[in-house]
């Protein structure tokens, strides 16, 4: 009996080994090639019926406190892709889009990047948030993969020459905010409440403070909070109130902003609140009382109620498809795809080129194109990846955004 068991055991082991050796044949090739930058595997990107396609990956927060941004960016990108595919694709090739969730977490963003690489991604639209984009860009540069972020605004997010961005950067936002407040005479005494554990928030605040000093705005109170302490803002608001600030600058995200608005209302402090693109999405928070956001001004280059043809068409398509009004992140995602299209058409690249060759071609093309998009007209790029276009502001009136000139 023992000898019989031994024979069975041995034969099972042999069968298992045989199985792993044969099944593993193709995957072990991939495992080896994932670490090389000039692998031959990613040149053959084909759809299920064998024709070559463009594989564009997307990384952003599809769940979590910033889900509104990630979902909007992917939705906007999807609309653009559907339009382009219907019109014949880019250089005659169709686009396949693969959005991945990073929950605004750096590690998860890197995991998403690797998942997309395994899928055969050639161009990355992402990451949506600054911290994650900075983390992913370290990997994208090693693979020489073209990266276009729709909305990551930190300077560190596109330090390498393969990375570009659609939105304006934090320095521009901080400078733009200070300029806007000073030039439009919105206030003389300004308070700031920022998140000192977040690169987005501190980046904007630093430049805002510098520009405010240059423009003669007095910052009477600058208080911070951090990621572990973002529910109670009584101290920060009391400091702003006691210093007599008539405008409070909030370079933070909408979840915390909603709490600040509620707490300010209950302490009967009613300054003008001024935010940046992180404030966008505050009106679509579940169960949020939008009357608290009345009069809030935020910097955003996209206003859904603008009357130009492109915006009107985009807004109605988005509403039909997703049942809500798009925010600026959706517009950023839409523009990102059209920018990728413009660069690919300018460079004449095709999907059977390697990831690295596509990237090189696009890097040159980006400096030569001018794009008219939802988020700006005549957008051009410089070698550091920054777009040049001007920031505009909207005000929340009656629970909706209203463009102000």
């Amino acid at each position: 009996m023992k000898k019989f068991n031994k024979v069975i055991g041995l034969s099972l082991v042999m069968a298992m080994l045989a199985g792993t050796v044969t099944a593993c044949g193709s995957s072990s090739d991939n495992a080896g090639q994932n670490t090389q930058t000039d692998s031959t595997n990613d040149g053959a990107d084909v759809s299920s019926d064998g024709t070559a396609v463009w594989k564009i990956g997307g990384i952003g927060p599809l769940t979590g406190g910033n889900a509104i941004y990630g979902q909007a960016a992917m939705n906007g990108a999807q609309i653009a892709i559907d339009e382009i595919n219907a019109a014949g694709g880019i250089n005659g090739y169709q686009i396949v889009f693969n959005p991945q969730d990073d929950e605004t977490d750096n590690d998860k963003s890197i995991n998403a990047y690797n998942t997309l690489k395994d899928w055969g991604m050639q161009i990355l639209m992402g990451s949506v948030t600054s911290g994650c984009c900075t983390a992913v860009s370290d990997y994208a540069v090693e693979d020489n993969l073209f990266l276009l972020t729709p909305s990551a605004s930190s300077v560190t997010s596109i330090t390498y020459d393969n990375a570009f961005r659609v939105c304006f950067s934090d320095p521009n936002q901080g400078v733009g905010a200070a300029d806007y407040i000073a030039d439009n005479g919105l206030a003389t005494k300004v308070a700031v409440i920022y998140d000192n554990s977040d690169v987005y928030s501190t980046g904007i605040y630093d430049k805002f403070a510098a520009e405010a000093a240059a423009k003669g705005l007095e910052i009477v109170s600058a208080e911070s909070f951090n990621a572990d302490n973002k529910t109670d803002f009584s101290v920060q608001l009391a400091a702003a109130k006691d210093a007599g600030a008539d405008l409070v600058f909030l370079p933070i995200y909408y979840s915390e902003a909603s709490l600040i608005l509620a707490q300010a209302a209950s302490m009967e402090y009613a300054p003008t609140f001024f935010g940046c693109d992180g404030m966008d999405g505050i009106l679509t928070m579940e169960n949020f009382d939008t009357s608290l956001a009345e009069g809030v001004i935020l910097l955003t280059p996209f206003a859904a109620d603008a009357t130009d043809d492109l915006t009107v068409k985009f807004v109605s398509t988005y509403q039909d498809k997703f049942g809500e009004t798009p925010n600026q992140f959706a517009a950023d995602g839409y523009d990102a795809i059209y920018i990728i299209k413009a660069a690919l058409e300018k460079s004449g690249a095709t999907p059977d080129m390697s990831v690295s060759d596509i990237c090189e071609a696009m890097k040159t093309a980006m400096l030569e194109i001018t794009v008219d998009g939802l988020t700006g007209t005549g957008i051009t790029w410089s070698a550091d990846g920054e777009p040049s276009k001007a920031p505009r502001a909207v005000e929340i009136v009656d629970g909706v955004y209203k463009a102000i000139q």
């Binding site: 406190g65 101290v235 209950s266 579940e286 169960n287």
Partner: protein, 294 residues
Amino acid sequence: MRFLSSLINGVSLGSVYAIIALGYTMVYGIAKMLNFAHGDVIMVGAYITFIVMNNAGLPVWLAIILSVIVCTALGIIVEKMAYKPLRNAASPLAVLITAIGVSYLLQNLALLIFGPNTKQFTSVVNFSSIKLFDGKVIIQDETVVNIVLCIIIMICLTLFVNKTKAGQAMLAVSEDKGAAQLMGINVNGTIALTFAIGSGLAAIAGVLMCSAYPTLTPYTGSMPGIKAFVAAVLGGIGSIPGAFLGGILLGVIEILGKTYISTQLGDAIVFSMLIIVLLVKPTGILGKNIQEKV
């Protein structure tokens, strides 16, 4: 004036800590165990209330009762499955580490079930706030409700522990499990009852905390839970009035520290309090130093 409103904000924050600390202290006093998952039971209580109120549209009092029932059941289940098997473990650390594990389990289960999107909690407290000094100092209605409820719960708990049979059984179990069992007390049942009461309190704490600070995510209970633990230690762990005192004191220290020292150092100040208390008076302000005579 600034000092007065900071003081009141501190009491407001402290009242939330106090209610959470009551649960911590009760479980430690009776079962001699630090239930680090307490903060997350609070989060579960808040979620149940939110779902019942918003999605099912049921009235507030029904939502709270349901939430207390669910949390009590959760507390008993967790005790039976995770803590009871380790009661006689070689190291008392085993139960502590299990508690941390349960904490993560609850957070991630909530993430799976309720999703990570931030929910806006509608406050269940709807009185008008008290205004003093011509509106310069405002006391929130939630603060008043928190403090009043905290005192009521404190009195009820003290009466329960000292006057009822089940409460006396709890005291006996906390002093000497073996002797209590010899006297015919159902030790398992008593400890289960302790966790049940603690978790029921957690549900109420969750509703009150989210009424004061309306954002709700699976991670909402974690930091307040840790700070309430510091508060319980500060006031004397195992002492019920100590939890109340510790909670209020810690809230005041945190807000005053943030106002007058630095907003960035708020947490550092809170946790240095823990270190100072443990160095100077480890049993806390109202704690008793029990010497074992051999």
